[in-house]
């Protein structure tokens, strides 16, 4: 391929010539002398590598989106626009985010700081970020407007924007203060102006190197043809899982297909009887698209890793890895989602409950990819997502539970419960569902069903939690749900 692959970094074109497909964007940037972004963990947990990328936001606009540069293959940035901490401002002319961080003591050792700057700047430029008072008077209380509380500033800053950035020095208070002190971008701010124009369109990319080949086809038919030609090729969307395999486990792909920008995988359709979500939409995009239509997922999103990860991670990826501790499967199982698989032979649909076959095994064939996830409507009236983990922000669950219950006239008409972390695959809590359906939604019934639920699955002991604790958490989850629906003010931490 003779075409010139390059990334626009801080306004300067940086060729991808000679870059191996296994090289991540962080190492690529650092090799260019842009050493502001750092490697802290190489698995998308610390955010020291955070940079901003101009991503599509509706038809005509773009959105500065913070992502973990350590996870994304450099090749996947072909044709994209990237801004690093160096590109935002200089010591003589600090960007507003940089100024607030500097004067308030937001940096101590400074190593995590450039990453914080990029995550904070992305939230600074979020188009629908408005001061609390303005938000209250304009469009009321949509899912993306919040009262100022300990996770939201008066300026509309959502602290979850920084949930994927770790700081070992400050204890976070001055960083929060810096975030909450930010005003709106000034008139003529170049980054704000850039957002009013479309994001770069994805180019066809093919990069060959010692470790293998990365290819990003232009559309789905091309992708399926490549997949038919290279069955078992690694499919890369947000690369939030694959990047970890490359960096931490030293896995190299002889052939990787970039599917993150395929238009056919980025559809979003709300119908009368279902919502269809393109498999390559990021969780952040899905969250915005749903606008609160599926309350169970609204509970899930803020608990799914961090904003940095949600800006890359996709439903397709979370289901594609087949991990028993992915956070979306328990929720999607409860929602009775259907997986739409595509191959050169056409589409087929598989209920998610039949999708997983074993530890990281699914019914998806080597020549198939996940095109979309379909969630039937209407959704059940009682919905909850419980995630048991050591840390509230950005952790991997030891147990995850999705609840979707219909209670009519005090009787459980329908119960769907998805479980993660308690078996080799995500599972439905079928015995518990049976113990509830047709029964009154009362304390006695719930207690009995909770005992059944405590025996679901085959939890293991590991470094995240002991088996008895996992079982205990299964046992208490239903009690908690019942208590929440009965006396919401009693909900604990």
């Amino acid at each position: 391929m003779a075409s010139q692959h390059e990334v626009m970094v801080n306004g300067t074109a940086r060729p991808l010539t000679g870059v191996d497909p296994a090289t991540n964007a962080l190492d690529f940037l650092r090799a260019q002398g842009l050493t502001g972004a750092k490697e802290g963990c190489a698995e998308g947990e610390c955010g020291a590598c955070s940079v901003m990328v101009a991503r599509p936001d509706g038809g005509d606009a773009s959105r500065w989106t913070a992502v973990n540069a350590c996870l994304i293959p450099a090749a996947a940035l072909d044709g994209q626009e990237v801004v690093t901490a160096e590109g935002l401002g200089t010591p003589e002319e600090l960007h507003p985010v940089q100024r607030e961080m500097a004067v308030r003591g937001g940096s101590q050792c400074g190593y995590c700081t450039p990453g914080f700057i990029c995550s904070m700047a992305a939230e600074f430029y979020r188009g629908d970020r408005q001061p609390v008072a303005a938000a209250a008077t304009s469009n009321g209380s949509g899912p993306h407007t919040h009262e100022a509380d300990h996770e939201h500033g008066e300026n509309g800053f959502d602290l979850h924007a920084l949930s994927g950035n770790l700081c070992r020095c400050t204890g976070y208070r001055p960083i929060r203060d810096a975030a909450y002190a930010l005003e709106q971008p000034a008139e003529g701010d170049p980054f704000a102006e850039r957002s009013s124009r479309p994001a770069p369109v994805a180019a066809h990319t093919r990069l060959e190197g010692a470790s293998g080949i990365f290819e990003r086809p232009a559309d789905l038919p091309q992708a399926l043809a490549l997949l038919a030609e290279h069955p078992g090729a690694v499919l890369v969307a947000g690369s939030t899982d694959w990047g970890v395999e490359v960096n931490i486990r030293g896995i190299r792909a002889p052939y990787a297909i970039g599917i993150d920008r395929l238009p056919e995988l980025r559809t979003f359709h709300v119908g009368d009887d279902s919502v269809e979500i393109g498999a390559a939409l990021t969780l952040s995009e899905v969250e915005r698209g749903l606008e609160g239509r599926i309350p169970l997922l609204d509970q899930l999103f803020p608990q799914f890793a961090s904003r940095l990860i949600r800006n890359g991670a996709t439903f397709g990826g979370n289901l594609g890895t087949g991990s028993p501790i992915g956070d979306t499967p328990p929720a999607l199982l409860a929602l009775e989602a259907v997986v739409v698989l595509a191959s050169v032979d056409g589409d087929r649909e598989v209920p998610l409950a039949d999708y997983f076959t074993g530890y990281r095994q699914t019914v998806k064939r080597d020549d198939e990819l996940i095109r979309a996830v379909r969630i039937p409507l209407p959704v059940s009236g009682i919905a909850a997502f419980h995630k048991i983990a050591k840390r509230r922000f950005d952790d991997i669950s030891s147990v995850a539970i999705g609840f979707a219950l219909d209670v009519q006239d005090g009787v459980v008409a329908k119960a769907r419960i998805g479980l993660g972390g308690v078996a080799a695959t995500p599972i439905r809590a079928l015995a518990t569902e049976a113990a509830l359906e047709g029964q009154p939604w009362t304390t006695d019934v719930v207690r009995a069903a909770a005992e059944v639920m405590g025996r679901e699955g085959t939890p293991l002991d590991d470094h995240r939690a002991s088996a008895p604790y996992r079982s205990a958490m299964l046992g208490t989850a239903l009690l908690k749900l019942h208590a929440q629906t009965a006396t919401p003010q009693e909900v604990g931490a």
Partner: protein, 819 residues
């Protein structure tokens, strides 16, 4: 007031200024060791070959296959070492081991043209291992009598008599975890050789001089052939006090052998599996109280988990023994200490340096015993505070003990603690599924290195002809703001604006024989040295100015860039005076030195006055616990902390907050799990990445976080009246743990005492609240505290033939004579 502590009016010290490198941090321009690789030509990259056994002999090592990997340049093995094959100062840490001592131990290193080539080369190296039996927990070490190093003891009074006469005697045991430093920047070194074969190493190190020492002894050259520079660190926390040396030595060795620059930067998992951590401890204790809750006697045996080599385990243990009293007067006390030798990373310094471990034991004891005594933990703690005239168990008079009470009262008042206690009682009574707890805990922490020789520092101050000033000192910058403070000290001493002074990176050819930047002492020691150097220059300038202004030199004043007289008459600009002094051939630079006065310590009997002073602080923390899961939130924290007269309030507040959250991480969240099974992975660190080892994130920040520095806190005898700040506030986090304990106990009846594992993860809190519930359900379960004199006597050092047995076994044997 001493000359050292006296502070001029309107001084630059005490001003609220941001970190000196803040603008570089936020723009991504601040350079860290590994950033220099991009600016260095033809660098080789180092990658380790890590052993997959906790304990094994290396019976064969074949490097030839690695050379078949494209890009592999050299494999470094023990045979390449021209000097001493040792990475430490105690000669018990072979750099290239023939016996693998922990899972992940590096047996050799591969150098490649790229990191990928070195990585693939390391996979190609063939190593034969003969696995050996291993010890991977402190309990296993105790049972196997596997110890190393000294077995110190601190003793005062008649301990046994203290138990005989006491109204209440309790005994128990407690094992608690260590902590990974998780500095965001992993260990990194970049070594170059010059035309004479001299070695220049840029290293992320808190102790450049010791890095220099170790590199020199590995290379078999004198120290004057090795220079170490540290630009700054992306966090240290003690993890880069002793541990960087071996990595620097590998880079230096590679550079000497290949003639090319060698870069060594550990990945996060390499760093976590190879470098040392905070020591986990095991404690056995018995304690005696009188009827009012005053402590009569304490008898404890602390066993630290040292890992495979001694490293800093002995001084860490000494500090633990010297801090088990925390802020409490304990008339009769005996504390024995010993260091387990286990097949784990060699545990090392970590912010607090054993102090937190010692103090955690007494705070755990008070937290467990308060309900059994029927005394509010707030009252139990404050009743036992030191009073004027009392001394620590190791014989040092406690100066300013009233500051604990002052901090305590201020926290109780500004934190509205008594009213909130009542609110919490009301909340807990009306909420079945959620409970709150509010705990207040004190800190008293000794400042100075226990090892007296380390309490010295040097500095180099250059005043150039144009009046600009360049300072260098022996301390390293790791985010703690030391350089910021040193700039402020220099500007204050010289009487010039801050903008006149610049600071050059720490390097061993500027200031030699430095101490580690550790023990919170960086500003005390280096500040003393910087001030001394500035004063030397000033004395000479005073003569010049006196002549120029026509006054006695003693009447010259240096204020804000102007040199004037005591009467404030004629003045001359600083730069003009300096220029004039140059033409008069006056020396305009000076080497400064400082040694802390008044310290003495006999480590053989653990007695003396090892600390210049004590730092004090108090924290009140309120938490809420979810009764369904054990998950919790920190609702509010109020802190008053004593930093003397602050040199730099913004920096000091940042240190207090950061230390508190880091301490809370250790006590509640951060979970080091080693594989203790008999599988082949035995000894492997199971939580060896950011995805499995969780640091505090925004979700752990207290929702309300009020930090105040104690006012009118001048410290006589320290630079400009200030006090150290790095470590002491870490231990304010005990209040989080005790609040969790109280919230968990609130799920049971009043007076319930619960055990709480450390770290108090949601799971641990869940088991604690389940214990409280069982207690409430009539199942008598008062934690694992035994009641009754004379208590269960902890293991004593003269009983070498008797292995430590579980507390329950000992309790059965000693048959306490009733409560």
């Amino acid at each position: 007031m001493s000359a050292l502590s006296e502070r001029p009016a309107n001084s630059v010290v005490g001003q609220d200024i941001p970190h000196e490198a803040a603008a570089l941090h936020v723009t991504g321009l601040a350079l860290y060791t590994d950033d220099l690789v991009q600016r260095t030509h033809a660098v080789l990259h180092a990658h380790p070959v890590q052993a997959p056994h906790a304990h094994a002999l290396v019976t064969g090592l074949r490097t030839a296959p690695a050379y078949d990997v494209p890009g592999v340049v050299r494999v470094l093995t023990a045979e390449d070492v021209p000097g001493v094959n040792d990475a430490g100062v105690k000669h018990d840490e072979p750099l290239f081991p023939s016996e693998v001592m922990f899972h992940g131990h590096a047996v050799c290193w591969v150098l490649g043209e790229t990191l990928e080539a070195a990585r693939l080369g390391s996979l190609a190296v063939e190593v034969d291992y003969e696995p050996l039996p291993s010890i991977v927990s402190v309990r296993e070490a105790i049972e196997a009598d596997s110890f190393q190093g000294a077995r110190p003891k601190v003793e005062r009074g008649d301990v046994d008599a203290g138990f005989d006469d006491a109204a209440h005697v309790f005994s128990g045991e407690f094992e608690f975890a260590g902590q990974e430093h998780f500095y965001l920047e992993t260990h990194a070194s970049l070594a170059l050789v010059d035309e004479n074969g001299q070695v220049f190493i840029q290293s992320s190190t808190q102790h450049p001089t010791e890095t220099q020492d170790i590199v020199a002894h590995v290379l078999g050259v004198p120290s004057n052939e090795v220079t170490v520079q540290c630009l700054r660190m992306g966090g240290g926390f003690g993890g880069k006090e002793m541990q960087p040396h071996g990595y620097a030595a590998i880079a230096a060795l590679g550079a000497r052998l290949t003639g090319r620059p060698v870069r060594l930067r550990l990945t996060r998992t390499q760093d976590m599996t190879m470098s040392g951590k905070r020591h986990g401890f095991h404690a056995q204790w018995r304690v005696a109280f009188d009827d009012s809750g005053l402590i009569q006697a304490l008898d404890a045996t602390l066993t630290s988990d040292g890992g495979w080599s001694l490293d800093l385990s002995e001084p860490v243990l000494a500090r633990a023994l010297c801090h088990i009293d925390n802020a409490y007067w304990i008339p009769n006390i005996r504390v024995n200490g010993r260091i387990a030798k286990s097949h784990k990373t060699s545990q090392t310094a970590f912010r607090g340096f054993g102090g937190p471990q010692g103090m955690l034991v007494i705070e755990d004891i008070l937290g467990r015993c308060a309900p059994l005594l029927g005394i509010d933990p707030i009252d139990l703690r404050s009743r036992n505070f030191y009073a004027d005239g009392q001394s620590t168990p190791y014989g040092q008079p406690v100066r300013h003990p009233e500051r604990v009470a002052v901090c305590w009262d201020q926290v109780l008042a500004t934190g509205d603690v008594r009213a909130r206690q009542a609110e919490i009682e009301e909340f807990n009574a009306t909420h079945e599924h959620a409970k709150r707890g509010l705990a207040v805990t004190p800190v008293k922490f000794g400042i100075s290195f226990n090892f007296t020789a380390f309490n010295q520092a040097g500095a180099l101050v250059h005043v150039y002809k144009d009046g600009s000033v360049l300072i260098t000192h022996g301390g390293t910058e790791m985010g703690q703001g030391l350089h910021t403070k040193m700039l402020q000290v220099a500007a204050t001493t010289l009487g010039v604006p801050l903008s006149t002074v610049r600071l050059a990176p720490t390097r061993t050819d500027k200031v030699p024989n430095t101490s580690a930047t550790a023990a919170s002492s960086g500003a005390d020691l280096n500040g003393g040295a910087v001030k001394n150097a500035c004063e030397q220059v000033l004395e000479r300038l005073r003569e010049v100015a006196g002549r120029r202004l026509g006054v006695h030199p003693a009447d010259v004043r240096f204020v804000d860039g102007q040199v004037t007289t005591v009467g404030g008459g004629e003045s001359v600009a600083w730069a003009d005076l300096v220029n004039q002094a140059y033409f008069q051939r006056v020396q305009l630079w000076a080497a400064g030195f400082y040694r802390t006065e008044g310290l003495h310590w006999d480590s053989s009997i653990m007695h003396g006055s090892p600390f210049k002073y004590f730092s004090y602080g108090v924290a009140a923390t309120e938490v809420e616990v979810d009764g369904f899961t054990g998950a919790y939130r920190t609702r509010r924290v109020d802190i008053v902390h004593d930093v003397g007269d602050s040199l730099s309030p913004l920096v000091d507040i940042g240190q207090v907050e950061g230390a508190f959250v880091q301490g809370a991480g250790w006590l509640t969240l951060e979970d080091l799990r080693w594989d203790e099974s008999d599988r082949p992975s035995r000894g492997r660190l199971a939580t060896q990445a950011a995805s499995t080892y969780k640091l505090p994130s925004f979700s752990e920040m207290p929702e309300v976080f009020n930090v105040a520095l104690l006012e009118r806190a001048h410290e006589d005898g320290a630079v400009y009246g200030s006090k150290a700040v790095g470590e002491p506030p870490l231990m304010l986090a005990f209040s989080v743990r005790e609040a969790l304990r109280q919230a968990a106990a609130a799920f049971g009846p009043t007076g319930t005492s619960v055990d709480l594992a450390s770290p108090a993860t949601p799971e641990a809190v869940w088991w604690a609240l389940e214990q409280a519930r069982r207690s409430g359900a009539g199942q008598d379960e008062h934690g694992h505290v035994d009641e009754g004199a004379p208590g269960v006597v902890p293991d004593q050092p003269d009983a070498d033939d008797r292995p430590l047995r579980p507390h329950s076994e000992l309790a059965a044997q000693s048959a306490p004579g009733g409560a």
